[in-house]
Symmetry: C2
Subunit: 221 residues, 2 copies
């Protein structure tokens, strides 16, 4: 019987690559998708389609963060038009505790279905400086799963897998191309309009990745 894993799927480039990677590693993937009030709601639809495409089970967890505190949630705020890679300069798109929350639901889901792993597509190289994408955060969270879950007390492990964490965007894209990830189906832009804006952090990082690989981004028509 294949090992089960919960895969955090946003519908973006990184998490879709992650899903294909997990499947390639032989895991039976259960996708967890979040509707957390993000302005690019469109990614939720993309994520669902990707889960369906791979014939994986999925859940969409609806979360309300009424206190907002992020330009990714609060439409009255402007999105920043630059890409910062200085982790001390965290942009306004940072959502307080986002991955802390996402991993908490993943832990609950994983324990109930008897999964032994959680895959999360965090990346601490070509990223926006979010603290909850760094290896030290994941290490700390791993301890929480060990101490706070029944499976942890019983000496079993739900391991957090972060295969993208130390990769450049170009390396991630190469990982995906090798596994035939349908990048045309993925969505990265924070704006969530009909077409990618090409200027938000997420668009810029993605464009740089495809440029470095020397490929046209199939997500841009």
């Amino acid at each position: 019987m294949p090992k089960k894993a919960v895969v955090l799927l946003s519908g973006g480039l990184d998490s879709t690559t992650l899903l294909y990677y997990a499947l390639d590693r032989g895991f039976k993937a259960y996708c967890l998708i979040f509707d957390y009030g993000q302005r690019h709601k469109k990614e939720i639809l993309k994520a669902k389609k990707i889960a369906q495409q791979t014939a994986c089970a999925y859940h969409v967890a609806k979360i309300s963060l009424p206190w907002q505190g992020s330009s990714l949630l609060d439409k009255s705020m402007r999105l920043p038009y630059h890409t910062s890679i200085d982790p001390k300069d965290i942009p306004s798109t940072y959502v307080p505790a986002r991955n802390i929350i996402f991993l908490s639901f993943a832990a609950s889901y994983a324990e109930v279905i008897g999964a032994r792993g959680i895959f999360i597509g965090v990346n601490a190289l070509d990223y926006s400086g979010y603290p909850d994408c760094r290896p030290e955060f994941i290490t700390a969270y791993q301890q929480v799963l060990k101490k706070g879950l029944k499976t942890g007390v019983k000496g079993q492990w739900i391991k957090i897998y972060t295969p993208l964490i130390r990769k450049t965007k170009a390396q991630i894209i190469r990982m995906g191309l090798k596994r035939h990830v349908p990048y045309a189906m993925t969505w990265s832009c924070y704006q969530g309009e009909r077409r990618p804006c090409g200027t938000c952090d997420s668009c810029l990082l993605r464009a740089r990745g495809f440029e470095a690989v020397g490929q046209k981004d199939p997500g841009i028509k």
Copy 2:
């Protein structure tokens, strides 16, 4: 200006005592109440009333855990009629990752409002053996807040306060009586019927506490 803190409030005996304790310590409390599909939905109403009684701001966070995995969520399961205090024997009322989830929302809320503390009424003495009520879990989570939040990276701290963690139920009740906690307003029973069932773990622990203090439980009419 008083220091702000997020207080996790369930409407039960412990968290209500916790709220009064936090206020007594001079914190401005922001109550966070969870509607997570618990069968004793009644506690949510009680929690709201308690927040209103103390004139504290509050949010009710609605959470869906469709994978359930707990007799506290799944009404087709029976509640256990015993009290286990052996942490190796975790009863079916355990909700996978519950406090991991609760603290994640509290972290988000706390960071946005600029709170420096989160109060959680976990107790590892007169409790049901839930792993996410133990000091080692809280210690691990504190690290997550340090590594995963912007405030952590900036060298500030959101501290998790657990003033009840090593207290007996009787000691908690005494803490509360000293601070005039309106125990008649609190709700502990897992069943959530018109009156407390008197036989679930939560009722039993509460009854033992009042017995040890030598007081009548004002929550039982």
